[in-house]
Amino acid sequence: MTNDIAGIKKADVILIIGSDTSAAHPVIAARIKQAVREGTTKVIVIDPKEIVMADYAEIYAAHRPGSDVAVMNCMMQEILKNGWEDKEYIKERLEGFEEFKAEIMKEKYSPENVEILSGIKAETLRKIAELFGKAKTASLYYAMGITQHTTGRDNVWTTANLQMICGNLGVEGGGVNPLRGQSNVQGACDMGGLPNVYPGYQKVVDANAQAKFEKAWNCKLDNKTGITVTEMIDGAYDGTVKALYVMGENPFLSDPDQKHVIAAMEKVDFMVVQDMFITETAEFADVILPAAAYAEKDGHFTNTERRVQRINKVIEPPEGVKTDWEIVQLIANAMGSDWNYETVKDITKEINQLTPQYGGITWERIGRFGLQWPCPNEEHPGTPYLHKGKFARGKGLLSPIAFKEPDELPDEEYPLILTTGRVLQQFHTGTMSRKTEGLNNLAGPMVMISVVDAEQMRISNSEIVKIATRRGEITAPAFVTKRILQGVIYIPFHYKESPANVLTNPALDPIAKIPEYKVCAARIEKVL
């Protein structure tokens, strides 16, 4: 998030697009609902599912999955046509406006044309643009509904374009606010758990960054970008990746096209899994290393608003279990190195030294409620919202983004659009949440289907149906509802007994390498 949770209530208008907020980020949803209830904020929800947040919205619009760029470009065209943009902000703080405008003003983004592309009525598109464009401060919240597309990067860029021309970046209560889905997914990115960057987003191809880490670690480092998770699976499949070391992840259920993932994990020469449980992925491992749970260790998590918070050891781990950092250190030393971290604090200190944004977030200083990065030194108070006064890169760059269709569209054989996501009561691949029986009683597998489609196919509520795509097929009980767009079905991906990722399309965004979980062609059949 460019902005902070406390700033939610400072927005006059909040646009939620591609986030089932009350399911995946319930406490942030509560804050948004509070703002609506207090009458200070109006909400716009754009989502193919009529999510709970739609009940609190001034305007709710169902758009066809994958039409996000068209919808937001249309909003921007209307904003520019009516002069609702922040002209001074554009002049002072942005660049690339003319090229950007040339794309936006194209006839294909007129409300009438985007109605055809997105399914949202032209009149509603105009209303959305007006409410958003005229707001003094508007903020934008999204989650995987924006990113998990072959056009994920375009989608994100478009959210930034929208917020920039409206002057909503670098202001309290505004911002482009992606909601991070896992407790420390922000921290894992910040710490360089990515193939292209060292901790603090210092690029591996940057010779200065390389020299800095070579000096700190007294070693030679590789200067070419590595491969991403989906490419690792491909590599394991085609034999270029010989060993896979998986710490606390479950690609069996989280990666697209499960059949391919299984084949890859069967093929790889050597696989290590470090986890609390024998997960579905761990079944394929050659070695499993038992790791401690969050409650059994000290350290830090970084949340969605870049707040680094201390986690404390609550209970003793079971006998025989080690923390992840202890295990990693043992392996490093067994490979002939000489690591010498005595406590987790020693690692925190090294993070402070090598990660500019974390420079001032020291063990001693952090306190009960943490600090928000960037916090470069011990005197710095932390940063509730980014780009204040000036963008990190200087001027904000507007980019002309053209609308592109998703990789796989419905056809006669597979006439429906399948989109996947999360439910409130379960988490990710269920490794943690599914151990609580009560949560399983509350939420099991399902395929959400519109009443109209269900009636046509004579499918009744709770009936077990078969869902098929070009990758494979699964069965799940039907959840027949008015709250999903006709022609779209939705399956949560948490369940090994109805694994959505058997069905999903592994096509990637060419740059972000994110798979298109939110759109693929599917069909439903009665099982009888």
């Binding site: 997914v185 360089g192 758990g193 990515l194 998770v229 950092w325 690591w339 151990k435």
Partner: protein
Amino acid sequence: MIVYLNGKAYKAKPDETVLQLALRNGIYIPHLCYHEKTGKAAKCRACVVEVEGMPGLKTSCNLPVSDGMYVTINSEKVLQAQRVVVDLALSSGQHDCLSCEQNGDCELQDAAYYLGIERPSFQLYDDKYEMDDSSEFIRVDRSKCINCGRCVEGCNYTVVNEVLNFGNRGFETKIVFDGDLPMGTSACVQCGECVQLCPVGCLIDKRAIGSGRVWELEKVETVCPYCGVGCRFEVHIDRKREKIVRVTGVEDSPTNNGMLCVKGRYGFDFVNSEERLTSPLIKENGKFKEASWDEAISLVASKLSSLKKEFGSDSIAGLASAKVTNEENFVFQKLIRKEVGTNNIDHCARL
């Protein structure tokens, strides 16, 4: 601004109430409906005080401070009024502390203790409400409800799930879910905010029932392991069994203000799960076999080293984790970059 409480001067903030000033200075005034999050209610009237120059008794929870205000909180007149209020609350429900889950953490009990009430003077309770056990994680025992309204306020204005309300009138008043459905069939999402706000034993974490008295449990603060909001919570642990009994939200946390969701509050079973791994496992002939840490670590290290030698560093790839700490991710990428010698590291940020 100076305000006098029992003759002693205190510096008051302009926007606070007499009750807030007292509580901030460690002075107890009984209060059952007021909670800092749900705000002024002036409903239960347990917080009455005397103010010089004002007629009668005033509820301190909605009484704004003013300069030079002279407040008496312990006169016999005040205590007598408070006793009647608390006595009636005790008399109108089945407040048996002996096996009540809230014993030791009950605000009605605190008020009775402060006012020296041994047992209720009246028997107004007529056994009319059934226990509602229909919800997966929350028990509703309306015989213990004092109609303070905190849960209704919290459900509607804090978490804004808009499920709880008051039904009926007068003596028949009770809390209802969605126009009087059993809690388990209502639209309740079981976030547990009402449980956290309930001053008595009416709304209870079902799973904690019988798992230890409040004073037997140790509380440690940490961060929720589920989504990325980073809600801060307190884990209540039974040290004898080294087991998590319940979880409550941290009220002054800037991320969550005490709020949690059903996963964060109730989904902690995985930590104490019987299925936890407790020994490294090595696969031999397709079957896992328990191994020592030394065996497992040296096998991993020698395999990685030999593959690196034979096929090069880029033949190895590592997946870090969105569920472990910054420190653990840091050392993991250091292992892959420094010891293995490749940038083939990623995690499920995109998935």
